[in-house]
């Protein structure tokens, strides 16, 4: 009975059912930018500060009741509060959508084409489209080829061939998440799917929107339609756009765009990107990024399928503490001047990271940088037999400098165990390769490879709670020497989450819970959510963030006992599940230096000669 009750409630917020369904008719357009319920905010720092429109101001008042209730949340009583919350939430969502157009009218008084009326919104897009076409004509003539814009006349370069999608086809529009990157001058830089034709008009519209809003000293942040959320992110001279039907929150989508931006920075550095565009506003960045599409494609696939990105934490392979320690020691001993990070990876998960002492003194490696590295390795698997030496920038560590990455597999031909050594010295290849020889030798002596081969992720059944199907647990820093990489642990996805669709469905549920927990307007501490086929409980405290998935029949009391049990189990297994106390080494004779932020003389700030190409 209780359960039925929940289910009724749950449907209202089930993510596959847009709350706006009946409130606004869709106004479809080639670009899928069908409805311009613009959220336009002044050019300011954080989102919270920017929400100053009428609609948004009303929200807190309206929701005060549930917010107050939530503050008193305890594990013992999430249920009734949750019910209240869900109701309010639903009401709020539609309010939000209804207010959108009003808000636009208020904020866009400069332009009359922009109105709160449906048909006028459509007209606006058409106007923008025309603008876009004009801009395009201006851009298309200069510079080297822009394969996207000159589609009609020029045979596509071979690197375009793997994205020959018919963009007029419904299937193109059906993609769950489109991502576009363009330059401020409107030049297409990257598109996740599809080909020229639609891209030029779509990107044209987007750029027109962006520059139009900019001209009014505002920043366009998002556009909502019945089916799509369009999120914009401007970073320096680059504009990133996501058109998503995934029902993720704007913040989540913007976070994903930020990963795309960082991946581009990791290849070119932020300094080079700015310099290039300072030099030549309509530079075709595809020239430099050509061939990197697969790296960006791979990143976006990972973002969709790997919760590490959502949680901004790294997932390490569970390993007996003694084995992990011995591997760390091996890395710690194989060093050479200017080596700063030694990372061992198996099955695309971290085994251990060892860091140079002074580098880490005032900072730590950010999860996002690790994600970018792992993605790069995944994308370079084609040449597993060789030893790779490539420049790479870790944008969160220092967006303007290059490291030189040595990448080599230790177990050919299987190629599951990968060694990644980062040096600040461009010329250090042979010295770094020699470190690999040492590591190989030591690992052979300790039979490490066969021990690593046995390591695997764990089953949720090990926790011993029958109704628990899956979970994600991310501990926060414990003071002092625990200060390290943010990590999370999660068991293998098992039945019923074995098919790709089911896995994605569970991840979508987690994303939904995550967006509620991290809502900028009303962050929550605890959510008990009864979905159609499972029950989820998300809980955030000062010590951890936890997402759990139970079978639908679980009772509230049962779920709470289960979580207590789970937390106890994690505590017991902690040494195996996480990299703890990562060891350090010292390779610099002068330990006072640190390369964070400032340009240490150890790091390479050269631009690899791009400027000579301009």
């Amino acid at each position: 009975m209780e359960r039925d009750n929940h289910q009724g409630e749950a449907q209202g917020v089930h993510i596959s059912e847009p709350p706006s369904e009946s409130s606004l008719p869709a106004d479809t357009l080639v670009t899928s930018l069908s409805l311009l319920g613009n959220h336009m905010f002044p050019d300011a720092g954080e989102k919270q500060e920017e929400i100053n429109s009428t609609a948004d101001k009303e929200e807190p008042a309206e929701l005060q009741q549930s917010d107050v209730a939530l503050k008193e949340h305890s594990v013992a009583e999430p249920h009734s509060n949750q019910l209240k919350r869900l109701e309010t939430e639903e009401a709020e969502t539609s309010v939000d959508l209804n207010n959108v157009s009003t808000q636009s009218t208020d904020r866009e008084k400069e332009d009359t084409a922009m109105d709160n009326d449906q048909s006028d919104s459509g007209e606006f897009v058409v106007t923008m489209l025309a603008k876009a076409k004009l801009e395009e004509q201006g851009i298309g003539v200069k510079g080297r080829s822009s394969p996207l814009l000159e589609a009609g006349t020029q045979e596509s370069p071979a690197f375009m061939s793997h994205r020959d999608e018919d963009v007029t086809a419904e299937s193109w529009r059906q993609h769950r998440k489109h991502v576009f990157v363009l330059s401020e001058a409107g030049k297409p830089i990257y598109s996740r799917y599809g080909s020229e034709e639609a891209l030029s008009s779509t990107m044209g519209v987007m750029m027109a929107l962006v520059s139009f809003v900019q001209s009014g000293d505002n920043i366009i942040r998002s556009v909502y339609s019945e089916e799509h959320t369009v999120v914009f992110l401007q970073k320096g001279p680059l504009v990133l756009v996501c058109v998503s039907s995934s029902r993720q929150s704007e913040e989540q989508l913007r976070g994903e765009l930020l990963y795309v931006y960082y991946q581009i920075v990791s290849m070119l550095t932020q300094a080079s990107i700015s310099r290039i565009f300072e030099h030549k506003k309509n530079y075709d960045l595809r020239r430099l990024l050509a061939g990197s599409e697969k790296i960006l494609d791979g990143l976006l696939n990972l973002v969709d399928s790997d919760p590490s990105f959502l949680l901004a934490a790294v997932h390490c392979l569970p390993l007996a503490c003694s084995l992990r320690d011995s591997l760390s020691q091996i890395l710690q001993k194989a060093i050479t001047p200017n080596l700063v990070f030694s990372i061992l990876i198996a099955k695309n998960q971290l085994l251990t990271i060892v860091q140079e002492k002074t580098v880490i003194e005032d900072t730590r490696l950010e999860p996002a940088d690790v994600h970018l590295l792992l993605n790069l390795i995944g994308a370079s698997s084609a040449f597993q037999a060789g030893e790779i030496w490539t420049p790479i920038c870790l944008p969160l560590f220092n967006p303007d400098c290059y490291f030189y990455a040595y990448i080599s597999y230790l177990d050919p031909p299987e190629c599951t165990v990968c060694l990644l050594l980062l040096s600040t010295d461009k010329e250090a290849f042979y010295a770094v390769a020699e470190c690999k020889r040492k590591i190989e030798e030591a690992m052979a002596a300790q039979n490490s490879l066969s021990l690593i081969a046995k390591a695997q992720s764990y089953s949720v059944s090990q926790v011993g709670v029958s109704d628990l199907r899956h979970f994600m647990y991310k501990p926060f820093d414990v003071p002092d020497n625990y200060r390290q990489l943010t990590q999370f642990t999660s068991p293998e996805m098992e039945a019923p989450y074995t098919s790709e669709e089911e896995k994605m469905r569970l991840l979508d549920l987690y994303r939904f819970m995550h967006s509620r927990i991290h809502s900028t307007s009303r962050p929550l501490k605890l959510i008990y959510h009864v979905a159609e086929r499972e029950t989820l409980l998300a809980w955030v405290t000062s010590k951890f963030e936890l997402y759990t998935c139970f079978s639908p029949l679980v009772t509230k009391a049962c779920a709470i006992t289960a979580i207590t049990k789970l937390l106890r189990w994690i505590k017991k297994e902690e040494d195996r599940l996480f990299i703890r106390y990562p060891p350090k080494y010292s390779t610099t004779p002068n330990p006072s230096k640190s390369s964070r932020g400032g340009k240490s003389d150890q790091q390479d700030t050269t631009d690899n000669g791009y400027l000579s190409l301009l």
Partner: protein, 260 residues
């Protein structure tokens, strides 16, 4: 950093250069693994070791993308042979060799040898297309194919590539003739200030290959390896005088890593 005495450098260095997508990685993969499979555009450079008789030959497969242009001269430093690769179906890729890649070889050895290699010959030459790479006895097959005819070339128009903004982008993808490659080889020698007479002849150093079928791939690498032998011997003699490099240890190690 030559003072790091344990650094074990291989005997000789061969570098693959050329625009992205011409098939450098595919060529090397065909040679070492005897397979043609999907590749991902190379990042930076990839280092491979090949044992050739008693010698260790290092091969650098570099990225053709402009993003990594600045690294090219580093990969070329001290090279004994440079394989300048283009795509026979893409005129621009040949032009890029001269415009973008030739200057990177300034850091190569003064006696470095140059090969001009037109890959993807299977797309224009039936002989290359029909070629079958029998993993077991590749040499015999290559011998049989030696009496190759000139590829049937569709056009011999010598016009340089038009600007990309031209209405017909087709020019960029005009096939490259063998004569074009030979002419480029001549210009390379001139650039290097080398006498045509005392240098290796163009007929010997201009190859047309197919990583897809394996056509001429072994011939290319093995011809080059044989040609760099004198360079190896000279280097070994120099090193024998130097106490910092332990050649015995070096050889023992490398033998394990290399494949046949």
């Amino acid at each position: 950093m030559p003072e790091v005495s344990k650094m074990k450098k291989p005997d000789v260095k061969v570098v693959l250069l050329g625009d992205m997508n011409v098939g450098k990685t595919s060529l090397l993969h065909r040679y070492t693994e005897r397979k043609f499979r999907d590749t991902i555009s190379t990042v930076g450079g990839a280092f491979f070791l090949k044992q050739w008789g008693p010698y260790n030959i290092s091969i650098w497969d570099t990225a053709g993308r402009e993003q990594f242009h600045g690294l090219g001269s580093m990969y070329c430093r001290g090279a004994a042979a440079v394989i300048l690769t283009y795509d026979v179906t893409n005129w621009q890729s040949l032009a890029e060799l001269e415009e973008r890649f030739l200057s990177l070889t300034d850091t190569a050895n003064h006696d470095c040898i140059y090969a001009v290699v037109g890959n993807k010959a299977d797309l224009i030459d039936p002989k290359a297309q029909m070629f079958q790479d029998s993993g077991g006895e590749p040499e015999d097959r290559t011998e049989l194919e030696k009496d190759r005819t000139e590829p049937q070339v569709l056009s011999s128009c010598p016009t340089p590539p038009a600007s990309p903004a031209s209405p017909s982008g087709m020019i960029l993808h005009k096939p490259v003739t063998h004569e074009d490659a030979v002419a480029l080889y001549g210009r390379i020698l001139r650039y290097k200030g080398l006498e045509e007479k005392s240098s290796l002849p163009a007929e010997k150093m201009c190859f047309e290959t197919s990583a897809k079928t394996g056509y001429n791939v072994d011939t290319l690498f093995e011809t080059l390896f044989d040609l760099v032998l004198p360079s190896i011997l000279r280097k070994r003699n120099e090193n024998q005088a130097s106490p910092t490099v332990d050649l015995e240890e070096c050889r023992g190690k490398r033998a394990r890593t290399s494949c046949c």
